[in-house]
């Protein structure tokens, strides 16, 4: 009984962390069609922003939930103005440019922070469930990702800004004809996407040892989740992360961590063979 509860929590945690890892990419790649190979580095910078702020004496929750997303959002804004805005609609070019960016950010972080592993402790203590000990921070991650999904849904569905953004992504010239500047909408959306990546990196930072190359560990999972999720932003994120999180944890728990990783990739291959448009390409069609 205790064990099944522990396993349930671990699964929810795995799903939540996949949602967090992929949310920024879902906006930048899913909505804006920019293949952002520097997504992992945006997360890495979110982690460093948090650690730096905490070391300067800022409260850890402020650092994670406010400072890191803002910092990375601003970096994203600069990147968008300097590089990305020249490349909208050119999928392969965005891939090359952001790959270069990822190398640049790794180099920059190595110059600033050195190449040693850094980190901070989790701010939430562990607790006991029957005979088991669970990491209390897992609950924080679950709560953050649920709130994140709700917030994304509210913004996109119920606010004027969300409507305009979605409209401009679908038909930029129509939005322009109606008097909105696609240029500025793209800029704002990229800022949001980067900030989400920064938030993910920040929230995951206390669980991992951070090095400048840490981003590499996230990028594949983020792309797999977003692509398997399909065209719908939130439903896709939720279904993709839900599927892969559960599959990888079941295999990790019953066989081994290596099999967990393998199972995730096999599940992705099978899924894309059966549903080339992603889960929401077939189910939940037209949902947000």
């Amino acid at each position: 009984m205790d064990l099944s509860f522990v396993i349930l929590i671990e699964m929810l945690y795995a799903v939540s962390s996949l949602i967090l890892i992929s949310a920024g990419l879902a906006v930048v790649f899913g909505m804006m069609k920019v293949i952002n190979l520097a997504h992992g580095e945006f997360m890495m910078m979110g982690g460093y922003a948090t650690i730096t702020a905490v070391n300067l004496g800022v409260n850890i929750f402020v650092a994670m939930l406010v400072i890191a997303p803002l910092t990375v959002g601003l970096i994203g804004l600069i990147v968008e103005r300097l590089v990305i805005r020249h490349l909208y609609g050119r999928l392969v070019d965005t891939m090359l440019a952001t790959w270069g960016l990822s190398l640049f950010f790794i180099g920059l972080a190595t110059m600033i922070f050195g190449n040693t592993t850094t980190g901070i402790s989790t701010p939430i203590p562990g607790f006991t469930v029957g005979n088991y000990q669970i990491n209390g921070y897992n609950f924080f991650i679950i709560v953050v990702s649920v709130l994140l999904l709700i917030a994304m849904r509210v913004v996109l569905k119920s606010t004027r800004a969300g409507l305009i953004a979605r409209g401009a992504m679908q038909q930029a010239d129509m939005a322009a004809a109606l008097g909105y500047s696609p240029n500025r909408i793209y800029m704002a959306t990229f800022f949001c996407g980067s900030a989400l990546s920064g938030l993910a990196g920040a929230v995951l930072a206390p669980l991992v040892g951070l090095v400048p190359t840490s981003g590499g560990a996230y990028i594949a999972k983020a792309f797999i989740t977003v692509i398997a999720g399909g065209p719908s932003l939130i439903a896709g994120l939720f279904s993709g992360a839900g599927l892969f999180g559960v599959v990888s944890q079941v295999f990790t728990f019953t066989i081994s961590p290596v099999m967990g990783e393998v199972a995730l990739l096999v599940a992705a291959v099978i899924l894309l063979r059966l549903l080339p448009q992603g889960i929401t390409g077939k189910f939940f069609k037209g949902k947000l």
């Binding site: 522990v6 671990e10 795995a14 040693t116 402790s121 000990q133 669980l207 040892g209 961590p257």
Partner: protein
């Protein structure tokens, strides 16, 4: 060669001894390579300040391989064919060592590899003074089991080093009358250990031994502490702290983890105190010193002692001196070369991590590289050129 033979003796004496060094001093392995490079330069400066070797100054020819495996062979070739160095020290990962080793063997250049590694290299041209798994595990396992209990769970990095070390741990656990109740391997980029921590609790071992490697795996120690497991099941590791990782963990996360290495900054010996003072005088502070930096320093000292004893820089003479059972006193204690395997016989210190340092609990003097000795005998078989995978 005839050209140098005709030169007057005074000019020859002024001729410098060339020491080649190949290390990753930039890129993702620079946390290992930078302090190694600093240690090497410190040793050379000290040798030169004491009048050099055989009355000749030692000159360093160093190349930075930028954590790129392809550059190891290239710079190895360059050192031997273009720079014509007298000895090469260097290489960090096992793959880089194998790249350098074959080049040095072909060009008959003496080679020193000064890093903790998985054991089993048998080659008359190489000298190795890092700790091998058996040297370390044989010391760590009995101590850790005595402190905790007989049921052991192993979490290891999923590559050469982790796989081999995990096998040695199982052997020594069994030899000590214990039982291995679980073994899990993790790819190097795995940083989520939640399910594993739950799984370990269902098995309920008395002790967890973790040869985990790198930044992502450091997460395990954090998540273990965050779950509140640290006070319930003791931890031991064969890798934590080699690149000063224990300084990243907070005292709450790290304290009490058991390790066993050749070196710790906390060793209270006159040799170590002097070494740390010299390091601080050269580089400002001694915080960057770690296990493999000291190995590199001791490798240099061993080579210098052999050159002095041989009275020559010529390769065969230096090898003969090293094989004579030569020993030096380094910051980590006495280092003796085992003529059979060309590995070092050295002290292993059992330590517990305490307040981001390593407190020495017990010193086991002059441990033999028993793993490599099982498979390698260069005296019986001097032409050997193999990295053996030791069957346990």
């Amino acid at each position: 060669m005839t050209g140098t033979a005709l030169l007057p003796q005074a000019v020859l004496a002024a001729d410098k001894i060339k020491l080649g060094s190949i290390l990753d001093t930039s890129g993702i392995f620079d946390a290992y390579g930078k302090p190694m490079d600093m240690a090497m330069r410190l040793a050379v400066a000290e040798i030169n300040a004491a009048g050099g070797l055989l009355g000749r100054e030692v000159e360093v020819v160093a190349y930075d391989t930028q954590s790129d495996m392809a550059l190891y062979s290239q710079y190895g070739q360059q050192l031997t064919r273009q720079d014509r160095v007298d000895v090469v020290h260097g290489g960090i990962l096992s793959a880089s060592r194998e790249a350098i080793r074959q080049t040095m063997r072909k060009t008959k250049t003496l080679y020193f590899y000064n890093v903790l590694y998985e054991g089993g290299v048998c080659d008359g041209n190489i000298f190795i003074n890092g700790v091998t798994p058996a040297q370390q595990v044989a010391a760590l396992v009995p101590y850790a089991m005595e402190k905790s209990g007989p049921k052991v769970y192993i979490l290891a990095a999923d590559y050469n080093y982790g796989q081999i070390t995990a096998r040695w741990i199982q052997k020594f656990v069994a030899d000590n009358g214990g039982e291995t109740v679980g073994v899990d391997f993790f790819p190097l980029d795995v940083s989520d250990f939640g399910s594993t921590i739950a799984k370990i609790q269902t098995v309920g071992p008395d002790l967890v031994i973790a040869p985990l490697v790198g930044g992502a795996h450091l997460s395990f120690f954090r998540q273990w502490a965050a779950a509140g497991m640290k006070d319930r099941i003791p931890l031991a590791s064969t890798t934590l702290g080699v690149g000063n990782e224990h300084k990243v963990l907070t005292p709450q996360e790290g304290d009490g983890i058991m390790v066993a290495y050749n070196y710790s900054q906390e060793l209270a010996t006159p040799a170590n105190t002097a070494f740390k003072e010299n390091w601080a005088a050269a580089y400002g502070d001694s915080g960057m010193i770690h296990e493999i930096a000291v190995s590199n320093y001791q490798g240099l000292l061993t080579w210098a002692a052999a050159v002095r004893q041989a009275g020559s820089i010529e390769r065969q003479a230096v090898i003969a001196a090293l094989e004579s059972g030569l020993s030096i006193e380094g910051p980590a204690g006495k280092i003796t070369i085992d003529p059979k395997t060309h590995h070092a016989v050295l002290d292993v210190h059992i330590m517990e991590i305490e307040n981001q340092g390593m407190r020495v609990v017990k010193t086991l003097p002059q441990r033999q590289p028993i793993d490599t000795q099982l498979v390698c005998d260069l005296q019986a078989n001097p032409g050997d050129n193999t990295q053996y995978e030791i069957q346990i």
